[in-house]
Subunit: 357 residues, 2 copies
């Protein structure tokens, strides 16, 4: 096991701060860390293993001597700097959508498709949060019974839109309780034209709309799931996926209502339970008689995906429901990224192919 | 058009207060009103068309001389007093689940199956809130294209559990903002064993669990939808329905993510739009380019069902998504009940068959 010089790009963000925490708790041997962000937050102090680090502005030269760069500062930052990092010999694990659909870039949830890491050329993409917890809950079922159709409705936390979206939701909540007006400025999508109240409300829009009426978040769930579960083919018809994504007034941890068809029609709830229970990274919380089911507030700060409410469609054999919950900032982002790095290390793949140090 | 003596049973509740408001705004000619509730709230004053009424304790004799009794005081109250009311010549519109599955009792959403009123024997059941807005959004589509399979996930407001559940959610929200502990006592289900935090959380349980892993709310959505849309047959296989019901921290107005298959595979989004636009009681809010879609906060206090996010499953022809929102206390309860009474009046059916006045 080698020692690594690690850079965190977007170190002051909701995901970045958790990447630092996950890195501190990781099995990776960290020789040095570098905290990178935009000029706006450069100079901020951040602690890593009890020591203070000063956040620096990201430049191409920031990556000189870096072995591993974890990116979570928005797609445009990744597009600009990830190639610069790779050019300088740093393996990039990118938590934005910048490279996810690039056929040269593996899109990885380690428990599901770690083998895709073998083909990396310097950049590995971390899937979208809502995709990760869905494939985490479905992969044990796919392994055991095969998967056909997936129909998902998400109930996503506001932290997916960053720390400012959490603050906006809490401020709006206080305003509503006090009978004061709210002035939405961020949600549902910071960069979109209109903003709506999220407190005590549901918004069926995450990310911008595509021309076909789907949001880009829904598009991601469809194509990322295929790329991860169907050997890299984002347009595979081996499984069919369709999605509706909504935002609920919950700070952290997404919930998903997943309906799915298995290929082996002899599948049972007991068999699905067993598969989930034995799957690394999943925790089964499914005991209706004792009102045990996954809840967002119980998943905050945990790395696992929690799965419950498994039950058959009573009229269509081989079709089932499940309900999953996971911390969108951890398994949905920071933890999955650091876990990818741990797998790269264990698989002796934590280097840029062809780069001579 | 006759004039009626009307009783409201459960006059002080979340639905009861809105029944009084809907009755005041109704086309029904009201000769007198009687406000009934439990002994606990008897003596409370309630206004109707500017005049004060004193709430009385419900007894069998409360219904002497009453022509129309609107019930919303819980299933056990309906079971006890609805037959007493009918015995005394009062037509009962019951907003509880007490009689919904009784084959002798029509279960009615007037825009969908008003013709079922013809067979009433004194009691008409008002469906569950989550069922009503789903059939309101699907009936125009069924009429035009036929319906096969329905897969729904609900995001329901806390007012479905009454005024105390709204208060609990607001109190918990303040406690969470202030960093104080919460002490859940009502939600998810007042009568169930465990209670959980609802503020800033999602609870995938509404009503108690059945032995098959479905909640009773999900059971209701399945069988009430069939009874309403399939000529009174709660077990019809003409359409297949399956459901996941969850509670979100929203005070009023349920949201539903509905996936459905039509029989006529030439169905288009434009055709569905047109059908919804022309359907009495529905409002189409579906303009993604301008971020127009149904939201709970916009539906509060309105009688309509709002429908948007209509789009095809891109891999399964003839399958679509929609998103609906409606005020669960109005179309989901009080307004649908008063509307049933208006239809009974217009159809000359507002009397107990065989009862001589």
């Amino acid at each position: 096991m080698s020692e690594y010089n690690v850079a965190i790009v977007g170190a002051t963000g909701a995901v970045g701060t958790r990447m630092i925490q996950m890195l501190a708790e990781s099995s990776l041997k960290v020789k040095s860390v570098k905290m990178l962000a935009s000029a706006r937050t450069a100079g901020t102090k951040i602690k890593f293993k009890g020591q203070d680090y000063t956040v620096e502005e990201t430049t191409p030269n920031s990556f000189e001597g870096i072995d591993l760069a974890l990116f979570s500062a928005g797609g445009s930052v990744s597009k600009q700097f990830a190639p610069e990092a790779v050019k300088r010999g740093a393996v990039v694990v990118d938590n934005t959508s910048a490279f996810r659909m690039d056929p040269e870039v593996p899109l990885v949830v380690p428990e599901v498709n770690a083998e895709a890491l073998n083909a990396h050329k310097g950049i590995i993409a971390n899937p979208n949060c809502s995709t990760i917890q869905m494939v985490m809950s479905l992969e044990p079922i796919r392994e055991r019974y095969g998967l056909g159709r997936i129909i998902v409705t998400t109930l996503q936390a506001v932290s997916g839109a960053g720390n400012r979206a959490i603050q906006e939701t809490m401020d709006q909540s206080q305003a509503v309780i006090d009978g004061n007006p709210v002035n939405p400025e961020i949600l549902p999508v910071a960069g979109d034209k209109k903003h709506y109240q999220q407190a005590f409300n549901v918004l069926p829009q995450i990310d911008v709309f595509e021309d076909d009426g789907y949001t880009h978040e829904e598009w991601k769930m469809i194509h990322e799931t295929k790329k991860i579960m169907c050997e890299g083919d984002m347009n595979s018809d081996a499984i069919q996926v369709t999605a509706t994504c909504s935002r609920v007034p919950v700070p952290i941890a997404h919930s998903e209502s997943v309906y799915f068809e298995v290929l082996d029609k002899s599948a049972t709830v007991e068999g699905i339970h067993e598969a989930i229970r034995n799957f690394d990274g999943d925790i089964l919380e499914d005991d209706p008689a004792n009102q045990i089911y996954p809840q967002p507030i119980n998943a905050v700060g945990k790395r696992e995906t929690f799965v419950g409410r498994v039950r058959p469609d009573l009229e269509n054999k081989g079709s089932f429901h499940l309900w999953n919950v996971s911390d969108n900032l951890l398994k949905g982002a920071a933890w999955n990224s650091v876990e990818i790095a741990e797998y790269l290390d264990k698989m002796d793949l934590l280097y840029v192919p062809g780069f001579i140090k």
